[in-house]
């Protein structure tokens, strides 16, 4: 207890610095991946993508990021065991942040497809199991989380397959695909808005002072969906058939209509990413703050201070502006074959899956979910060529990231313990 009171400020400052570092890393690399399908489809420019990401990552973190933060903060470790030695939890969380942040830096340097989520979960489990004791880990919760890593890409894949099939049926195979697109696209926009708003309101808005009942959630989400549907109708109406564009490729005009939808799903994706991945950076920070502010009590009930969410959001935006935009530009150049109709199916499927996971408090990998979603469209024979090597490297990165994160956090844990105690 004395440790906490005497070093409290230092712990807080360290937590904020490490948290910002981690958030910066997420913004620099992860966000670019999340926005990849949107930028790659050519429906939005890099500038627009950066703007959308900055606004909606922040909104996602702020409005829907609470549940995952809670999981990272106290779902993985049994904090009861630590009530006598709360400083261990502080060291552990700091060590985890540092370990995951450094691992991400190393991995992105070499271009390995590692996930921020996997790194931080691996790190927390690592320090808890070795530094405190195997019993300190909520293994059943960890099991659920790991399961969700397998299920989320599969689910997103199934959803995107279905979405793309519906696009074929409702638009591409019609006699007049262009007119069909203009009619149907606003409904997809409605669906996007409705789902995202609903999940967010179901789970997240208490901390901003909004208590909503189930019925209210549904009606607000419905209203929100209608509003953006109306907005999309306005912009779709402006698109005029350009016969010259269809000369080489008959569906060029149809794809222009999908461009409108792509903007909406890009926002949804940034929101979803913010709601899930920001927690990786601020969950541990929140844990440290909780302990320090209560003077050493491991307060299970303390609420998440809003400024921490803002800190995470700001870190992400900083990383995005300083480094992520360049990564986005590369992605935009590399993915030229993706058309908005596919980009939309994959992005919406991934965004929905991620938002659902955020609502249930499961930290998943946005990038891997998106990969699953893209493969789903590929299975519907919608994409010219996909590189299946990526799937293999993703599996490899799972096997490597968990132990790497764990080992590093164990190392930092004992280092911090040596310094302060």
């Amino acid at each position: 207890m004395e440790l906490i009171t005497s070093y409290g400020t230092i712990f807080l400052i360290l937590a904020c610095i490490f948290g910002l570092f981690m958030a910066w890393g997420i913004g620099a690399n992860d966000v670019a991946n999340a926005m990849g399908t949107s930028v790659g489809s050519g429906a939005i420019t890099i500038k627009q993508a950066v703007l959308i990401a900055a606004v909606f990552e922040f909104a996602g973190a702020f409005l829907a990021g609470g549940q995952v933060t809670k999981t990272i903060r106290k779902g993985i470790i049994d904090a009861e065991l630590l009530s006598a030695t709360p400083e261990l939890l502080v060291y552990g969380m700091l060590a985890s942040l540092l370990a995951a942040g450094i691992w991400l830096l190393v991995a992105s340097r070499f271009g390995w497809p590692v996930s921020t989520t996997h790194s931080i979960v691996g790190a927390i489990v690592g320090f808890a199991a070795v530094g405190i004791g195997v019993d300190a880990v909520h293994w059943s919760k960890v099991g659920t989380i790991v399961m969700s890593w397998v299920i989320s890409p599969a689910l997103a894949g199934a959803f995107s397959y279905w979405l793309f099939r519906s696009v074929q049926k409702l638009i591409l195979n019609r006699d007049d695909p262009f007119e069909s697109a203009k009619q149907v696209v606003p409904y997809y926009v409605f669906m996007t808005g409705f789902i995202i708003a609903l999940v967010t309101m179901f789970k997240g808005l208490k901390h901003v002072g909004l208590e909503v009942s189930t019925v209210e959630s549904y009606s607000y989400a419905f209203a929100f969906g209608l509003v953006i549907m109306f907005m999309s109708m306005m912009s779709v109406r402006k698109i005029k058939l350009d016969p010259a564009a269809d000369k080489d490729f008959q569906f060029a005009n149809v794809e222009r209509v999908f461009g409108v939808l792509m903007v909406v799903t890009a926002c949804a994706m940034a929101f979803a990413h913010g709601s899930n991945d920001v927690a990786n950076a601020i969950g541990p920070v929140a844990a440290v703050i909780g302990i320090v502010q209560s003077g050493g009590e491991i307060a299970q009930k303390s609420v998440l201070p809003i400024w921490v969410l803002i800190l995470g959001g700001a870190g992400i935006v900083a990383g995005l502006l300083m480094y992520g935009r360049r990564v986005m530009a590369t992605i935009g150049k590399n993915i030229t074959e993706l058309t908005p109709s596919r980009g939309f199916a994959a992005t919406l499927a991934a965004a929905t899956t991620v938002v659902f996971a955020s609502g249930t408090g499961l930290p998943i990998s946005t990038t891997h979910t998106l990969v699953g979603a893209v493969l789903g469209v590929g299975l519907a024979r919608g994409i010219g060529a996909l590189n299946l090597n990526v799937v293999r490297t993703i599996f490899l990165s799972w096997i490597v990231t968990l132990p790497a994160g764990a080992l590093m956090s164990i190392f930092f844990f004992f280092t911090l313990k040596g310094i302060f105690s």
Binding site: R109, F110, L172, F251, V327, T330, N334, G382, N387
Partner: protein
């Protein structure tokens, strides 16, 4: 800069390269028309020039073929099977090869056809080129097929094109019979070795339509998967 997960997920689609290979093949084969016109007029310098042009265009198609093959790793996941794709590529390439062979034999032997074979022969060449043109038309629908996920109306469009291709091919068979019959009437008065090679050239021209048809039938297999 290292490629990110999402960008390395996307390979480069083989569809556009396959289409440009076919258009390169088509460029090569249409040169047979001015070539045959020159040959039938016995304008050998012009014919020689055309033959060189054909050889050059065939070479270009060959380069495209090699490039596409090198960019098709087994790990690529495509809406069409890799085997079908390579088969189509091979067939397309054989069309160009055959054109070059035909021009080569004729130039090498300074082959002159009997007068009443001439006209039918020209028809025959033209119709075989029609076949490859139709094959190209079908191949050009591949990007639309990928866009629609190989379903619905677009499949019907391509099937109709392939049906037309089959019709053209059977047309060329009929013309080929006539050309052979015309040559048969004259063959006793011509040097036997020359006649032998004339039949070979006629077979070669017929192969052009045959290969085009096989491009179409492979494409049909792609639809069926």
């Amino acid at each position: 800069m290292a490629r990110t997960t999402i960008s390395s997920l996307f390979g480069s689609s083989p569809v556009t390269p396959l289409q440009s290979h076919m258009s390169s093949v088509q460029e090569c084969i249409v040169e047979l028309i001015p070539f045959f016109k020159a040959v039938l007029k016995e304008d050998w310098s012009k014919a020689k020039e055309q033959q060189k042009k054909i050889a050059k265009l065939e070479n270009e198609a060959d380069k495209l073929k090699k490039k596409l093959r090198l960019h098709l790793p087994k790990s690529l996941f495509m809406p069409i099977s890799r085997r079908d794709l390579l088969e189509v590529l091979t067939m397309q390439d054989k069309i160009a090869n055959k054109s070059k062979d035909i021009a080569g034999i004729i130039i090498g032997r300074k082959m002159t056809f009997p007068k009443d074979v001439n006209e039918k022969l020209m028809d025959f060449v033209q119709r075989c080129i029609d076949a490859s043109m139709q094959a190209q038309k079908a191949i050009n629908e591949l990007d639309e097929l990928v866009e629609t996920g190989f379903s619905g109306r677009e499949v019907k469009v391509v099937q109709d094109m392939i049906k037309t291709l089959d019709d053209i091919e059977s047309d060329t068979d009929k013309i080929q019979v006539k050309v052979r019959a015309a040559l048969f009437k004259q063959e006793k008065d011509l040097p036997p070795v020359d006649v032998m090679f004339m039949y070979r050239v006629i077979d070669g021209i017929g192969d052009l339509a045959d290969l085009s048809q096989r491009v179409g039938s492979r494409l049909e297999l792609m639809l069926a998967r």
